[in-house]
């Protein structure tokens, strides 16, 4: 059973359409990344499934049922910013969150230790640094060891050590069998932490699936010839390639890493009656892949 199913979700803010018919589902036990540039609708998606935002149309189900306060209590959620009472200490804030989630206080010390905030638990939230606020918000998510966690930009404001710690924590939670839904604009973060990914761009779902299928690293070979059409035709039968992309007077051929052999391509084209006037190998970075996905 999927933990979360989103069907044809749309959301408008006046004339701005923040989400357009987005559908995806999050299988149990995955780390599901929602990836997209700023303003692509990541937080809007998460805000909707936590009942903070009302969708314009579409439906969503949590644990196979329409969402309710009860289902929200079973999920640890950090949405957008750490939201706490500024005048209360970290520990007092967690007491309130624990009460609302209907857990006792007994878990508070453990979660504070997990995020390394024990030393500052009695300081007012308003005195916390950005990174400490973020840690407290993550601690609050962990209260009661929920089986599902929603993290919106979880490493926001953290220093490099903090970022590494939080990513390690997410991997640990994943190994414990928990489902994590995470929004991020950091491609590298999604690639390192997530098992599944949905890519959003201007409110539209571009692609969703396994990370190693969607964000696989590839090598790219650029070729060109006088007879562009003929070249395109013969390349379609080239071995080992992943796909061929026609880019104006250039043709891009994508290969799994290390599988591109320039001399082989050259002789293949020549044997099929096309003489190349351009042939270069370009390693494609993950970023380039991401731009490619979000630009088409």
């Amino acid at each position: 059973m999927p933990i979360l199913t989103v069907e044809n979700l749309s959301k408008s803010y006046g004339r701005i359409q923040a989400l357009k018919n987005v559908s995806f589902s999050v299988p149990e036990g995955t780390v599901f990344g929602i990836l997209g540039p700023n303003g692509s609708g990541k937080t809007t998606t998460l805000g909707t499934i936590t009942d903070i935002l009302k969708p314009t149309s579409g439906t969503y189900k949590l644990f196979g049922e329409p969402s309710s306060a009860e289902s929200r209590r079973k999920i640890g959620t950090l949405l957008e910013t750490p939201n706490f009472y500024h005048y209360l200490s970290g520990i007092k804030n967690l007491e309130i969150a624990a009460e609302i989630k209907q857990h006792g206080k007994e878990d508070i010390d453990r979660v504070l230790e997990t995020v390394d905030l024990t030393r500052r638990k009695d300081s007012k939230f308003s005195t916390y640094s950005l990174g400490m606020k973020q840690r407290l918000a993550i601690a609050s998510c962990l209260l009661g060891s929920p089986s599902v966690l929603i993290f919106d930009e979880p490493t926001n404001g953290l220093d490099p050590v903090g970022i590494a710690e939080i990513r390690e924590l997410m991997k640990k939670l994943y190994r414990e069998g928990k489902t994590i839904i995470m929004a991020s604009h950091l491609l590298d973060e999604v690639e390192k932490v997530c098992t599944d990914v949905a890519i959003l761009k201007r409110g539209e779902l571009i692609v969703s699936g396994k990370v190693n299928e969607i964000l696989s690293k590839e090598d790219m070979v650029e070729v060109a010839a006088k007879d562009h059409q003929k070249l395109l035709e013969i390349l379609n039968n080239l071995a080992e390639k992943i796909r061929v992309v026609d880019d104006n007077n250039m043709i891009k051929i994508f290969f799994p890493v290390g599988k591109a052999d320039l001399s082989e391509i050259n002789s293949y084209c020549f044997n099929n009656g096309v003489a190349l006037n351009h042939l270069t190998l370009k390693k494609q970075s993950l970023e380039a892949r991401f731009f490619e996905l979000t630009n088409n």
Partner: protein, 262 residues
Amino acid sequence: MLHLLKIEWLKVKNYKAFWIFIILYLFAILGINYIGFYINEVAVESMPASKVILGTPYAFPKVWQTVGFMSSWLLYFPGILFIMLLTNEFNFKTHRQNIIDGWTRQQFITVKFVFALLFSLAATVFNFLVALLFGLITTGSHFSFAGMENVIYIFIQTVAYITFAMFLAILFRKSGAAIAVFFLYGLIFEWLITLLVNMKFNLSPIGYFLPLQVTDVMLPIPFGNKVIYKDAPDVWIMVIASLVYIAGYYFFAIKKFTKEDL
């Protein structure tokens, strides 16, 4: 509901500003009544004839109404306090977090209103004690339950002011805007509208049915009210109108909070 109130209590228990506000408010109730009490004594002493007009405002049974009237000027205090409690939630986005963590939107609003009712109850008890105190120290005054219905009016008026302030806080979401409108409306514009409607356009008693005015008419100035509210409807009508307003604020808040994005 008890569990919800416990959480609401956790929110204010260690909130210093909340307690300072309350202490100032309680001292102010004592203070404003002492001012009234003292001025009345001085006036009667220096000009015994004034007793004809003033009567014995701080003696039983009039004291219940007098304290209610005097304290009503301070109701902007708890009003601001509740505007702060609500706009704090909006500023800190904790209204979102409470829902995310597992409250329903109705629960968030309902517990705030119930908390306001309990606060009003406590304020009413304090007013009762203050009235008792001044009634007992007034020479020649003997304890009497007569006029005790005014204590109920104090409660209704306190609830009406606080829930009106909460209504503004939910409407504007910003403490500055809510407080400014609360003061300007309550101290200037409502009086102006009442004056225009009742006097200038001769539509009395319609002007008495404005949100705060309607409760002020329940607890009029303890002397000379035949002049100020000479054509006011019966008190029970004002009580019902006040309750309708309070229920209205609650339903508006629920409707706005459950239908909109947070």
